[in-house]
């Protein structure tokens, strides 16, 4: 079992890495463009359903999902896009799922902050 993190701290590190890669740029684009925001919302809903529709997914699951997604996609030929030049309207579903994971992770983080 070495597919990704099993502790919240490690999961946070992994998710930060994805956020720097595509997540921050994607969420910024979604905030700027309602059309892009819709795509992000759809991806977010899909990821939430894929993990557990009945609850807000914890950081560990989000990070593991993102790891599994990118590992399989990379083995099938997908490459991580350059966030500075990506056209978010034409971004692929893998990328959108990653951005959605980052969006969900941010929600979890906000929840943690309010809970604490």
């Amino acid at each position: 079992m070495d597919h990704g993190p099993t502790s919240p701290e490690l999961a946070r590190q992994v998710l930060d890495r994805y956020a720097r890669a595509v997540g921050d740029a994607g969420r910024a684009a979604a905030a700027a463009d309602p059309g892009v925001a819709a795509m992000l919302d759809q991806a977010t809903a899909t990821v939430g359903d894929a993990l557990d529709p009945n609850r807000r997914p914890p950081l560990v699951e989000l990070a593991s999902y993102a790891d599994g997604l990118t590992d399989r996609a990379t083995s099938l030929g997908w490459r991580m896009p350059d966030p500075t030049t990506v056209d978010w309207r034409r971004a692929d579903q893998i990328t959108w799922r990653l951005v959605a994971v980052c969006e969900l992770a941010t929600a979890v983080q906000d929840e943690d902050v309010t809970a604490a």
Binding site: T6, D41, T70
Partner: protein, 304 residues
């Protein structure tokens, strides 16, 4: 044999016996007097040197008091009976070798050992008492100070008793098992007391460990499930047609008409949107990568 001879023999026997008998009685009487005198002297002498005080501190007096004697009284009586024994030895020696003399000789030969044994017990009891005072005053503030002091004193008294028993010639086959039994009892008390005190902390610690293991295994299972979900999602996305259609509305900057209307959230272009001035400073994840090669995928919500 005539009557005269018989009478002569009898008279000779009596003549031979009478002095011995008189000497025997005289020796016994004198010895008894000497024994009484020595008993009184010993009692007074020991009281003069405060032997009772010593015995009292040793805690032997408490035991003796139940028998109605004090320690100096006891020693004085011992001296008394010893002198009587010597007297008896001497007196019976008159009659030549006989079983009573042998018995008395054996008892007299044993007396010094008994005396030393008594001394050992008294001294051991005194040491035990001092140790008890010392420990209970040094550790008086601690809850187990009294227990420790009593244990130490009992232990020392036990050692003294065993040494005394060895001294009086009670076989070590008896005293050694007693010693082992005492030590084993103390070990058992220690094991149950100290070990029993650790049962509860260890129990709670074990519960904590098992709880954490359970949480960890649950977390690992969730993590594995999420990882597998990501893999299968990626497989579905990548197996979908790579060169799909782009919604015209998307190209025109509009929302696709067929998209679920409830899934759209209007987001104002707030300050957050412009809060990425450092975006250009970031080095691309894959150098030389052309993002134009990234293919748009037509279906926004592929089913699993």
């Amino acid at each position: 044999m005539d009557l005269g001879e018989v009478a002569t023999d009898t008279l000779r026997s009596i003549a031979l016996f009478l002095p011995k008998a008189l000497a025997f009685v005289a020796i016994l009487f004198v010895g008894w007097l000497v024994a009484r005198g020595l008993r009184m002297l010993t009692d007074k002498g020991l009281e003069r040197v405060r032997f009772d005080r010593l015995a009292e501190r040793g805690g032997v007096a408490g035991v003796l008091a139940r028998g109605g004697v004090d320690a100096s009284d006891l020693v004085a009586r011992l001296v008394y009976y010893a002198v009587l024994l010597f007297t008896l030895q001497l007196a019976f020696g008159i009659w030549g070798p006989n079983p009573v003399s042998d018995l008395i000789n054996a008892v007299v030969a044993w007396l010094p050992q008994a005396f030393v044994a008594i001394i050992i017990v008294v001294v051991a009891a005194a040491i035990a008492s001092w140790v008890k005072d010392l420990i209970s005053s040094a550790l008086g503030g601690l809850s187990y100070g009294r227990f420790l002091a009593t244990t130490a004193s009992v232990f020392i008294v036990g050692l003294g008793v065993i040494a005394a028993l060895n001294q009086v010639g009670v076989a070590t086959t008896v005293t050694t098992p007693i010693l082992i039994a005492v030590l084993a009892t103390m070990a058992g008390i220690l094991i149950v007391g100290v070990g029993g005190g650790l049962v509860r902390p260890m129990q709670s610690r074990w519960e904590g460990w098992l709880d954490r293991a359970g949480q960890e295994s649950t977390r690992v299972a969730e993590h594995a499930r999420a990882y597998a979900a990501g893999q299968s999602d990626a497989s579905q996305i990548m197996s979908a047609p790579q060169t799909g259609t782009v919604y015209p509305s998307q190209a025109a900057g509009e929302r696709p008409a067929s998209a679920e209307p409830t899934a759209i959230i209007e987001r104002p272009a707030s300050a957050e949107a412009t809060a990425y001035p450092q975006e250009a400073e970031r080095e691309p994840l894959v150098p030389g990568f052309d993002s134009d090669q990234t293919q748009p995928i037509p279906d926004p919500r592929p089913r699993r």
